[in-house]
């Protein structure tokens, strides 16, 4: 049994977007607070801290999950991926990001990081997903600005493009 005492801060290390990072966290520190304020990766946002809105969604060991429902100390040793890790290189956008831009699938951009992280994983696992499946998967996210129609359009086009690349 490994015990981390309540009142102290403990070393937490993990891989974030392919790079090793570490910082100190109390057992109660939420992963959202940790990656944003301790590590400084502020691209992941916090919209509700109770698991419903999806803004904080990141990939933990490859699967999308709510960072706000995770303790920082739980991900010690894990591989995390956040919105900062999606673009292939500085100044370029991934295919999904590009189609979001094209379809105006974001307005304020606050919900966007979470949606991208879900969609990225979903399209990897389900390249042939239809609109219904896409909608269902992304229903774990609330966007207050776009009314979703542009997001659906962007997601469908990104799926199509990714399929073309795969088949080529």
């Amino acid at each position: 049994m490994h015990k981390l005492a309540a009142a102290s801060r403990h070393l937490v290390r993990f891989e974030l977007n392919g790079k090793a990072v570490e910082g100190l966290a109390e057992p109660r520190t939420l992963l959202t607070d940790f990656i944003r304020h301790e590590i400084g990766a502020t691209g992941t946002h916090v919209g509700c801290e109770h698991g419903v809105c999806g803004a904080c969604t990141i990939q933990i060991d490859g699967v999308p999950a709510r960072a706000c429902l995770t303790l920082a100390v739980q991900v010690d040793g894990a591989k995390l991926r956040t919105v900062e890790g999606l673009a292939p290189e500085q100044g370029r956008l991934s295919i999904i990001q590009e189609s979001f831009r094209k379809h105006h699938a974001l307005q304020c951009g606050f919900c966007t990081a979470g949606i991208l992280m879900s969609l990225d994983a979903f399209l990897k696992a389900n390249p042939d997903a239809d609109e219904e499946a896409l909608r269902e998967n992304l229903s774990g996210h609330i966007c207050r600005c776009t009314g979703y129609a542009p997001i659906v359009a962007a997601a469908l086009e990104a799926a199509e493009k990714l399929r073309e690349i795969r088949n080529a």
Binding site: L4, P27, L30, R66, S118
Partner: protein, 274 residues
């Protein structure tokens, strides 16, 4: 909205969990965290310690044992949903699981965590109840298996003693000559059910289980009744559930859903008797 302080205990074995639960006052198991974490952040729950069980390999297995699918305490809902044999071995479970929250919460939430939490609207306790499954709990004092009907004793309360953990839940596998169906209605997709219905039928038997209405999932055998009697029996059943009004629905609305969705679910189950 930040949690109060607690110790974090990372259990490496089932024995670790047993010891912690019996020795540490007010300790709580932390599984997928999809329910416990919001409660911690809202300070509705204030355990002295949380015991993270997710790194215990022995708890991570799905296996068919006897006539049941045994799902270990560290098995996430998404993993069970992706288990290739699921649809074949237990169609009711396969039908109900996609209704548990969203893909993103199923990636973390566990099957046993849902049983442990015993939300009256939750799908997994409902399926356990409908199928007459069981819950395997253990502690330093030993292990026991509790039938679902005895396990869920009320709102977020179960027959699990404070020093016990759930090690696994058992879902009986599909029986030949039986049909299964599941339906649910919630206000938004992914919301907790206002009413959920699970039906298990054979030529001689109709078993209907209802979630979201009473303080726990409730099943009733409506065996040997014709269509008219069935409607009457479901109405009786609906009234017996002591439906309540809340923000999202009235008691009478819930009864209506029980009646109409209940019948439909039974019909659908009959249509797929194998």
């Amino acid at each position: 909205m930040k949690p109060a302080q607690f110790d974090y205990l990372r259990a490496e074995s089932i024995g670790d969990v047993h010891r912690a639960l019996s020795e540490v006052k007010d300790a709580r198991v932390l599984a997928g965290g999809q329910t416990l974490m919001p409660m911690l952040s809202m300070r509705l729950a204030r355990p002295s310690s949380v015991i993270d069980i997710m790194r215990i390999e022995a708890l991570g297995r799905i296996e068919e044992k006897g006539n049941a699918i045994r799902v270990g305490a560290a098995v996430r809902q998404a993993k069970l949903l992706a288990w290739p044999a699921l649809k074949d071995r237990q169609p009711l479970l396969a039908a109900a699981l996609p209704w548990v929250g969203h893909a993103q919460t199923r990636n973390r939430g566990t099957v046993c965590g849902s049983a442990a939490h015993a939300d009256p609207s939750a799908e997994i306790p409902l399926v356990l109840t409908a199928l007459e499954g069981s819950v395997e709990v253990s502690s330093l004092r030993g292990a026991r298996k509790v039938a679902a009907a005895e396990f869920f004793t009320g709102l977020m309360t179960t027959a699990r003693a404070d020093d016990e953990m759930i090690e696994a839940v058992h879902f009986p596998v599909r029986q030949p000559g039986h049909g299964y169906a599941f339906n649910e209605y919630g206000r938004r997709h992914g919301d907790f059910a206002l009413v959920a219905c699970a039906a298990v039928v054979s030529r001689t038997r109709v078993r209907l289980a209802i979630g979201g209405v009473s303080d726990r999932p409730v099943a009733r055998d409506l065996s040997g009744t014709n269509d008219e009697e069935l409607a009457q029996a479901i109405n009786d059943f609906a009234w017996s559930l002591e439906a309540r009004d809340d923000l999202h629905a009235t008691a009478s609305y819930r009864r209506q859903l029980v009646r109409e969705m209940g019948i439909r679910t039974i019909r659908e189950a009959r249509a797929c008797i194998s």
